[in-house]
């Protein structure tokens, strides 16, 4: 009978239950997504050149666990405020406390485990969707990653089962121990926290100090290494908390003191609503800010690597295609690409010398990319004169030649002298195209054709001349990082939106009352809507801004990796 009663209770509040359930499903889904990477050692080790990546994922697991735990804590208290009145009423009607405790235990646990199972499935689905999306959109190659990962499934389910077991126990105890009257009145609004101005100021200072230390550690990450990461993690979490707990309240307080701002339309109400909200939401907003930082950080790193592929490819070669014995390629062969420049240098050779027509280089100088002292790729052009006198310059030319040619000496002759040489001329063709990305496939075909027509070319060595092959090499190298970045970024963003939406939706009931009150005293509907929009906008914006700031400092960590990749992936140069 009681079970039936409690089930009808659920039916009546279906909307609230949907909010609760979908919130929990998202939490476990995202947790699974993260773990599907974090527990996949083969993937992590195969796709990163830094050993610390496994460690970073361990830290990430800890952080995400804390966030999930707080999320579930909120969800649970939402569940309790929904249900304790009903249960207290059953008790008033004579139901035994033990029975009620059992019921609420079962309810919490079943809702939790149900959500976890659905969430894990959702996580698997999301993982594979995101994986396919990324592979298609970014044209990256992924190895050792599968959406279905047994250890992640097991870890997710165990983690959530333990948390819900605890929550169920706590709920059951609360129901039995609290006096019935308190349970019945539980949903009444709490008193506004009356905080002393001095404490507020101290907390504001503490917040700024914590953030300062955290950001300093991020900047110093190259010197302090692991210690900086741990210290930054702790201080930035504390700092974020204080920003919401105090700094923001302080700012709202100042705004409220300005008549021209506060006493206009519903501003005073909106500000107060925010101020109350933020005190109530401190933890969730801190979480959201952290999640936003993580998401943005991950996506920026992903994007960084994505751009790095093209940047590094560009740095290796001034031409998009190099054809040896270019006379063997017909005009129709080159039709597939949209060439913007097509320089032909004629070569004649004997046993120990390759001869070039100096005038051809004067007309179209040979372009190369050279690395400066600061490791920037610099464009250089060499005329025939320079090639004849500069050994480094002529080495650049040599690197484009066939292996049997590059062992010989160079001679740059006048056009007449070159024409007078008895042997027949071959061609070295260097081509650039309008849009490398668009012509990638065609370039690849032509590059392979060049290898086929010139069997003496060493595939390993000469690949570096063909931009498209260099691109593929870097793409394979960086794709793992890129994938991790985007995958986690998307996961964290979803979690963040879900967190905030959950909290806002679960508080909607008391809001509706306030808005209807305002409407009764003659507030225009568009003003009410404006107030709601402002409030929700700020609730998303502030953690967003803080998240961005975190990322700006946090990226120092990856800066070394991104701006100077040659050091790490070097050796080739």
């Amino acid at each position: 009978m009681l079970l039936k009663l409690s089930l009808t209770g659920i039916k009546e509040r279906l909307r609230d239950y949907i909010v609760l359930f979908s919130g929990l499903v998202m939490a476990s889904g995202i947790f699974y997504m993260f773990e599907s990477l974090a527990t996949n050692k083969a993937f992590l080790e195969n796709n990163s050149m830094i050993s610390s990546v496994v460690l970073i994922f361990h830290l990430g697991t800890v952080l995400l666990s804390i966030i999930t735990f707080v999320y579930i804590l909120y969800a649970n208290s939402f569940l309790m405020t929904m249900r304790q009145k009903d249960y207290a009423m059953f008790m008033m009607l004579g139901a035994k406390g033990r029975k009620i405790a059992q019921l609420i235990f079962i309810e919490t646990f079943v809702v939790g485990i149900g959500a976890t199972l659905v969430g894990t499935l959702l996580g698997i689905g999301l993982s594979s969707i995101v994986q396919q999306l990324l592979v298609q959109q970014l044209a990256i190659k992924i190895t050792h990653f599968t959406a279905v990962n047994t250890s992640a499934v097991v870890f997710t389910i165990i983690f959530f089962a333990v948390i819900f077991l605890l929550a169920a126990l706590v709920n059951a105890m609360t129901i039995v121990k609290k006096p019935i009257l308190n349970l019945l009145k539980a949903s009444e609004t709490p008193l506004p926290a009356n905080r002393k101005f001095v404490t507020l100021i101290l907390e504001v200072l503490a917040g700024i100090l914590f953030l300062g230390i955290g950001y300093f550690m991020m900047i110093q990450v190259t010197n302090l290494a692991f210690l900086a990461l741990v210290v930054a993690l702790v201080t930035i979490i504390l700092g974020t908390y204080f920003v919401f707990h105090s700094i923001l309240i302080f700012v709202l307080d100042i705004l409220k003191r300005h008549d021209s701002i506060a006493l206009k339309n519903l501003n005073n109400f909106t500000l107060s609503q925010l101020s109350f909200r933020i005190q109530d939401y401190t933890r969730i907003l801190s979480m959201v800010a952290m999640l936003f930082a993580l998401a943005l950080g991950a996506i920026t790193v992903g994007l960084g690597f994505h751009n790095e592929i093209m940047k590094m490819t560009e740095a290796t070669s001034a031409y998009d295609l190099v054809l040896n014995n270019g006379q063997n390629f017909s005009a129709s062969d080159l039709k597939q690409i949209n060439a913007t420049s097509d320089a032909i240098y004629q070569q004649k050779e004997d046993n120990d010398t390759v001869y070039y027509d100096r005038a051809q280089f004067d007309q179209t100088p040979l372009r190369t990319k050279e690395l400066t002292m600061s490791r920037q790729a610099k464009k250089v052009a060499y005329t025939g004169e320079q090639l004849a006198n500069d050994v480094t310059a002529s080495d650049q030319l040599r690197s484009l030649e066939l292996p049997e040619q590059s062992a010989k000496k160079h001679q740059f002759l006048t056009s007449e002298a070159f024409a007078a040489l008895p042997s027949s001329a071959t061609e070295l063709r260097v081509i650039t195209v309008a849009d490398f990305t668009k012509d990638k496939e065609a370039l690849k075909n032509l590059a392979n054709e060049n290898f086929r027509k010139n069997p003496t070319l060493d595939k390993n060595m000469s690949s570096m001349n063909q931009k498209v092959l260099v691109y593929e090499l870097y793409n394979a190298l960086f794709s793992g990082f890129e994938f991790m970045g985007f995958f986690l970024g998307i996961a964290f963003l979803t979690m963040l939106a879900s967190c905030l939406m959950f909290k806002i939706l679960s508080g909607a009931k008391s809001d509706i009352q306030r808005y209807s009150m305002l409407e009764k005293i003659g507030t225009r509907r568009n003003l009410l809507k404006q107030s709601i929009r402002k409030e929700i906008g700020i609730l998303f914006l502030v953690p967003g801004l803080l998240g961005v700031t975190h990322v700006l400092f946090g990226l120092q960590m990856f800066k070394t990796l991104l701006s100077d990749p040659i050091v790490i992936f070097g050796c080739r140069f």
Partner: protein
């Protein structure tokens, strides 16, 4: 005398087409003149809450007309209706309906900021009305920190600050202890007599009703009887109300 409220043959039926129809008001007509203190009494289900919602422009009648300060409120909607409500009608509810995240002063100021009154004037007018209702000492407290009687005074101050055409009270003493109730009613009577504030009070409490000058008794959706206090003492009027209520429930 100037008529500020005219209710003409107002009917209200609940329930849409295919549902069961309930006629809450079956044709009610009455008038309120400027400076009057009118009570509307009736048992639960008599239709008095429906009538109040119509007067408050929170709901529209199925048939009939309601004019407040010359305007036909049944024809207003959207922003015009909201503006009308904020300008012409002051509300006091049984459960106060204060915004618990604003201080007393901020609560009182809300209608003025909605009307775009300047900050300086808002402060002055809040101070005035607070003094009038003896709540100047609690202006910076939040609703949760003050007593029920004080909350209702704050609500009254919020209702009066726009100097509305009419003050509507929906069981304003319903949630108050007897001393606070008496204080509030004394204040309302004083506002009515000294400041010519027109008041319409819906109640089922004979003691509250005895402060009115005229009472309309509603039964089953129609006006059953109308009585005037005239020169009677409040005690005598109170006894008269009790005896009418006795008859009403027979």
């Amino acid at each position: 005398m100037e008529k500020i409220v005219t209710v003409n043959e107002v009917k209200k039926t609940y329930g849409k087409g295919n549902q069961k129809q309930t006629q809450a008001l079956k044709g009610i007509s009455f008038e309120v003149e400027k400076g009057e203190f009118v009570g509307i009494m009736g048992a639960s289900g008599s239709g008095k809450s429906t009538l109040l919602n119509l007067l408050a422009t929170l709901d529209k009648p199925t048939d009939g007309k309601i004019r407040i300060n010359q305007a036909d409120v049944t024809k207003l909607s959207g922003n015009k209706l909201a503006d009308f409500r904020s300008r012409e009608i002051g509300f006091i509810f049984q459960d106060f309906n204060l915004l618990e995240n604003l201080t007393a002063a901020e609560n009182i100021a809300v209608p003025l900021s909605l009307q775009g009154v300047k900050g300086k004037d808002i402060h002055r007018r809040v101070a005035e009305v607070a003094k009038r209702l003896s709540i100047d000492s609690i202006l910076n407290s939040y609703p949760a920190q003050i007593s029920g009687g004080q909350k209702q005074r704050v609500a009254a101050a919020r209702a009066l600050i726009t100097q509305p055409t009419i003050l509507l009270g929906d069981e304003p003493t319903g949630a108050l202890d007897s001393n606070s109730a008496r204080d509030l009613l004394d204040t309302m009577e004083e506002l009515n007599q000294k400041d010519q504030v027109s008041i319409l009070l819906v109640t089922h409490d004979p003691f509250s009703a005895s402060y009115c000058q005229r009472i309309l008794f509603i039964k089953d959706g129609v006006i059953y009887q109308e009585v005037k206090r005239e020169n009677q003492t409040r005690e005598a009027f109170y006894r008269q109300i009790l005896s009418i209520l006795g008859n009403l429930e027979q």
